[in-house]
Symmetry: C2
Subunit: 364 residues, 2 copies
Amino acid sequence: MKILNTYPVDDQFYMPGEFEAHSGCWLLWPERGDIWPNNALPAQNLLLKLANTICQYENVTLGVSAKNYKDVKKRVCQNVRVVEISYNDIWIRDFGAIFLTNPSKSQLRGVSWNFNAWGGENEGLYFPWDLDNQLSSKMCDLDNIDFYQSNLILEGGSICVDGCGTLITTEECLLNENRNPNKTKDEIEKYLRRYFNVQTVIWLPNGMDEDETGGHVDNICCFTAPNEVLLTWTDDKSDPQWEVSRNAYKELIKHKDKSNNQLKINKIVHPPLISITEEECNLYSEGYKTIKRRAGDKLPASYINFYQNDNAIFFPLFGVETDELALNQIKLIVPQKEIITFQTRDFLLGGGNIHCITQQIPKI
Amino acid sequence: MKILNTYPVDDQFYMPGEFEAHSGCWLLWPERGDIWPNNALPAQNLLLKLANTICQYENVTLGVSAKNYKDVKKRVCQNVRVVEISYNDIWIRDFGAIFLTNPSKSQLRGVSWNFNAWGGENEGLYFPWDLDNQLSSKMCDLDNIDFYQSNLILEGGSICVDGCGTLITTEECLLNENRNPNKTKDEIEKYLRRYFNVQTVIWLPNGMDEDETGGHVDNICCFTAPNEVLLTWTDDKSDPQWEVSRNAYKELIKHKDKSNNQLKINKIVHPPLISITEEECNLYSEGYKTIKRRAGDKLPASYINFYQNDNAIFFPLFGVETDELALNQIKLIVPQKEIITFQTRDFLLGGGNIHCITQQIPKI
């Protein structure tokens, strides 16, 4: 409701780890035929399944356009909160408000960033993105949450935090000249410290190869506990991910937390190359300035792109030979949590996965 | 969120008097040039003033279309909650959810009625009204309020209650064949008893003359306290209101409450005929099936059409000779409340007044 003119660091507000308890989760309803094949119907069915599952673990708010409100209300579980809202597409991780809390966890605040659809007129994935850019303010207004407005262009999927003072991001994305061309690495790091209230910023060199977001960290690495990360990993030297993961590892091992403990780095298998088929390509409608898919294009598959709260992990599978190993690995690495799996090719075809289309509200 | 399949009377939920404490108030942003002169700009300015005033007394939620969200956010007080929502026009008293509470005032529930724009294809005031009809469900969803869905066509402005078991309505409106043609008076009264949880229904014969709502009670009579009503009154025999008010009075004096007390009937002056000018008529744009204004048409002016909570009355004035008397009368009749006045000709030009465009949420 109120736009604050201080920084979160001044007010001791910070972003908790996603692995902590949530009071809720936001999702948006896919509907664009130029971004989602087959008029978004398969993505809608998968999203419905995701919403109806997450709402058994935490409150779910599902944003939907006026024209689809009535239909969605009929189809979704009654305990999902359906709200009318407008947006250009559903990537609420990237353009939604990022929610912060204070040390006593008595209050929520939001941060609203600038968003330019992953690159603006220079490699941006669709046009326009004005409604996406307004969404974070609307999310805060709905729930009477005061928010900070940053002028930095930043997507939520390009950072991850442990809630204990450390943030991980990639140089490839945050220093890309199609985001904040007039800001140096130091200046951007200052923003991260002020808005996320962290003491340490770990810069990994790159995100996943051919990731159209420009190298978001949420396809290669995430925190699963304070001082504990999960890194996507392959032993296949012919996969560009081989080098990306090793370079990330080299940065991660340099890091020690406040108590001088080394970061615990768990590895999870990286899936083999998954590509879009010609049949699938034919199922998109034409879009104005929307990125065009071509047969053989790599789909952004990574087991890292899951959604997690304090009790469960909503985990993507791809119908490939590494699925079983990945599932066994995540069960071993996070044995205390329930692992709920989804076959998510229909999300990949839109350009992302479960993490990209969710946004948590921490528990207070 | 949940659609209940019982009746409020079964669950002991009831509608408190509007004069009781509120937790909030809903308003919508006017924007249609065919309903509001001058592209709705004067009505917007007046609504802004109303929102910014009410929010000093209770929480205000202001619904606004996607296209005007950004502009309204900039102009309205920061403590007004602005939410994106779609609607056909702003008469939320009539098509918004009606909020109920339970005897311990620990819980809220909503009632969603059917709405046909005051008469549907037979004398309805605009077309379509599908978004208005969806609004009550959206209001409840936003605030996680379970609701009852009635299939009766009923506008909130056609009833008023004292929160102690009595409801007042008019035969002219509720028995009009353009509302529920297949239901008898007894059947409709049964609905009122079930959904408002009242023991007594007082049927006044008519609403205000030439009122395009078809005789809503909220232009002639309202409760200002349990067992205490305010009735619009004129001594000018040439005014059709002379007979309407006397007929209403005859019905009201018949009523006694549970303790056998007669209803206290206070009178307030009825304004003289106020008409629309030719200049004003020229300021509307053309609308598809929207009622057309003609120079000399009566405007629906009545001092009854105010909004009230437990501390204040938001009171309409018209710039006519009766304004001063009306203001003195309301101050004497409700001396314990603050009276805040608004010159509301710009609301009249859309077809209603302050009461028609507000909807309260009782305090719990």
